[in-house]
């Protein structure tokens, strides 16, 4: 896989924000390319050049503040998602981050703009980041947003940081909006997606190659009643599926009503995990032969097919992102204000930025 951590480079692992700032300032002065690494799980996006410096965030992983009453938590970006969620679960809370995170970190999930499978009901990662403290390429420490669940104070920098792959700065700390976990949960297998419409707002409706499942949560009374109404095999609790694995990994994004059509278009040997009512299909394949056709269809319908990972040389002419997004000039100029030497994760974004 191209997705990996370069070994022939200098590795640094700052444990505080001032050291991080000094590293980035020096990197800008010497025009050194910096690869930022959290858990190292999502290094396959875009087409970055080999880095001079590998910046590991694992030493900036503290919980800074967490008062369960406030429904917010502030953590160092290097905090592993699994560890954070396990801690929050002790007080029946969740940050609604990806359910099967592997080694991924909070900062990595935010930088890559990856969301929870529960996003149809609880919204995506972009809706959950309340405050970010960044270190820009030229070493400025910049905070945006606030540590309260709701605020309109200046431009929404935290939202811009989600999915920006570090191009506005390395994320040092983030404040996330939490959600209370209700007492009961269940998973119901269904044969026909039509059945899922019997529940107004399920937590998730997921489809994989061999299974369609509705995920429910709520009070005991609600979960008992709604799961019975769905009429399939009921399992208590949630067993969340991992993203499909393979040499090529894809993120297919279409308008929600086209989710089933997108699945129907996938070649039979592609593995997939689709989030109905959202329009996100995570897929994996052995080759990229049919990807161009799928991308054409997705883009014609207002969507995209994004390469999440691919083996070296495997894409043969296929752009990692597809058609460039609107406002590319503005995006470049924004990034130039935060990373003037373009040293942090260059080449990760659409348009080769």
């Amino acid at each position: 896989m191209t997705g990996g951590v370069e070994s022939g480079s200098d590795h640094v692992a700052p444990s505080d924000i001032d050291t991080l700032a000094a590293i980035l300032r020096r990197a800008t002065d010497s025009s050194s390319v910096v690869q930022v690494v959290g858990g190292g799980t999502r290094q396959g996006y875009g087409s970055p050049p080999p880095p001079d410096i590998v910046l590991e965030m694992g030493a900036m992983a503290d919980i800074e503040t967490w008062d369960p009453d406030d429904l917010t938590v502030t953590v160092g970006a290097g905090m592993p998602v699994a560890e954070l969620e396990a801690t929050l679960a002790t007080r029946s809370q969740t940050a609604v981050l990806p359910e099967v995170p592997g080694a991924s970190t909070v900062g990595g999930v935010i930088a890559a703009g990856v969301s929870s499978l529960r996003r149809g009901r609880l919204l995506g990662t972009r809706e959950r980041v309340l405050e970010t403290t960044l270190v820009t390429g030229d070493g400025r420490i910049v905070r945006g947003g606030g540590r309260v669940v709701k605020n309109v104070t200046g431009y929404d920098l935290p939202r811009l940081v989600v999915g920006a792959f570090g191009s506005l700065g390395v994320i040092a700390t983030v404040c996330l909006k939490l959600w209370s976990t209700p007492p009961a949960s269940a998973t119901v297998e269904i044969d026909d997606l039509e059945a899922a419409t019997k529940v107004t707002r399920p937590l998730a409706v997921l489809e994989e190659n061999m299974a369609k499942r509705v995920f429910l949560w709520g009070t005991r009374e609600e979960v008992a009643a709604t799961s019975a109404r769905l009429g399939g095999a009921i399992t208590e609790g949630h067993q969340w599926p991992p993203d499909p694995g393979g040499p090529f990994r894809w993120s297919l994004r279409v308008p929600p009503a086209l989710t089933s059509a997108a699945i129907a278009l996938l070649p039979p040997d592609w593995r997939y995990l689709a989030i109905h009512r959202v329009g996100e299909v995570r897929a994996a394949s052995e080759d990229a032969a049919e990807a161009a056709g799928i991308r054409v269809w997705a883009e014609e319908n207002g969507g995209s097919l994004v390469v999440v990972d691919a083996p070296p040389g495997g894409l043969v002419g296929l752009d990692p992102w597809g058609a460039p997004p609107a406002g590319l000039g503005i995006q470049r100029r924004l990034i130039a204000q935060f990373d003037p030497g373009r040293i942090i994760n260059p080449g990760r974004l659409p348009g080769g930025i």
Binding site: L71, R91, L123, V148, L160, A225, T226, G303, Q337
Partner: protein, 474 residues
Amino acid sequence: MTLIDELRLLLGVDRVLDAAVELYLYSRDASLMRGEATCVVFPETTDEVSTVVRIAEAHRVPIVARGAGTGLTAGASPTEGGIVLVTTAMNQIEIDPDNRTAWVGSGVINLDLTRAAEPYGLHFAPDPSSQSACTIGGNVANNSGGAHCLAEGATTSHVLGLEVVVAGGEVLLLGGKAPDRPGLDLKGLIVGSEGTLGVVTRALVRLLPLETDVRTLLLDFDHLSGATKTVSDVIASGLVPAALEIMDQKMTIAVENWLHAGLPTAAAAVLLAEVVGDPEAVEAEAALIDRIGRENGAGTIQIARDEAHRDTLWKGRKSAFGAVAQVAPDYYLHDTVVPRSRLVETMEEIQAIADRYQLDVYNVFHAGDGNLHPLMAFDASQPGMMERVHQAGEEMVAACLRRGGALSGEHGIGLEKRDMMRAGFTELDLDAQARLKEVFDPAATFNPAKVLPQGSRCFDFGGTRREIPDGAWI
């Protein structure tokens, strides 16, 4: 050609106003801060907006976009002169029931969108108290919230795409119905930017299914802490109700005198809670709130008997600010946020500040997310009164910031809180924000002098920004 001539050539005589009385009508929003525009224009299409932007740039005058003018922070007051661009003629609604989205003109009134969506079993979740007047464009500009945004998120969580006219009259189509459009989320940056980055002409919004059932409860307490503890315990139990609103006694009395809704005027605090969902869900959840309320000393608990009763309970909440009009001729209301765990002590300090300035303060707030709206009612004709009100207001906001709060929860910064931004952010933070503004709007055409205090840009590397002298346009 003069500015007015050029605009009239584009829009016709009727859609360009410049008579003194007309300019006066558009000289402010619902705040007390007035400006003076050169003219007021009513474009109907995105192309027209684009041309207006180019004309404004050629004449070097600012543009202040305005919907219904219900904003409370002077965000839509033309304090730097120039063109007031009224969006109300851009009022198309195009609903896509399959994808549960709608493309909506920025001049569409919030409640009209929900009414248009209802036949499809859908609604637009953000519901500011001004929803029967405020526009979607204004909601986008201020990232408006409302009572129901605790569970569903504020406007930004419901905007999937935007059509926006930026510098040079360029029309950008950002986002879309598919999730996670690759690249930077420029749409998300424009939401909440208070018209300072461009003019939004259309928004693609998410619509949610109408809830099949609802339970609305009104609980009264003889101490505020009973109400706030109930809110905390309800959320800790794993339930995030659709709304959790608290009114203090003064506000309850004012509302009851006006509305006669049967509100418990003897109580120190009243909690309005609402749960929505499938019938089984709301039944159990209402029972849970009832039990937790009693554990925390709730006196009487009313559960809405029917839709009419529910409307009455909500009307009390939503017309709270109107009710104050019968108490005193003027009011001033702040919008701040504190971490929920600090609600009680913050409220006590707000009361102490009001006492110190001998002002009446009324409270009604979104308790679930710690969003306070302390409201001072007064008679502005009394000498020195406005100074007292402003001074007390600033102290109240400072009290919230000291507790880790934010300057604004849902009303925005505008001009009112612009100079308080320094209390919440460092010079480098504000410099970063000023850079965002410069990238979008190098000529400072869009709603200049709002949101960011003068001199926010602390390092100037010879960018293209012109320094705009105060009052240059008027």
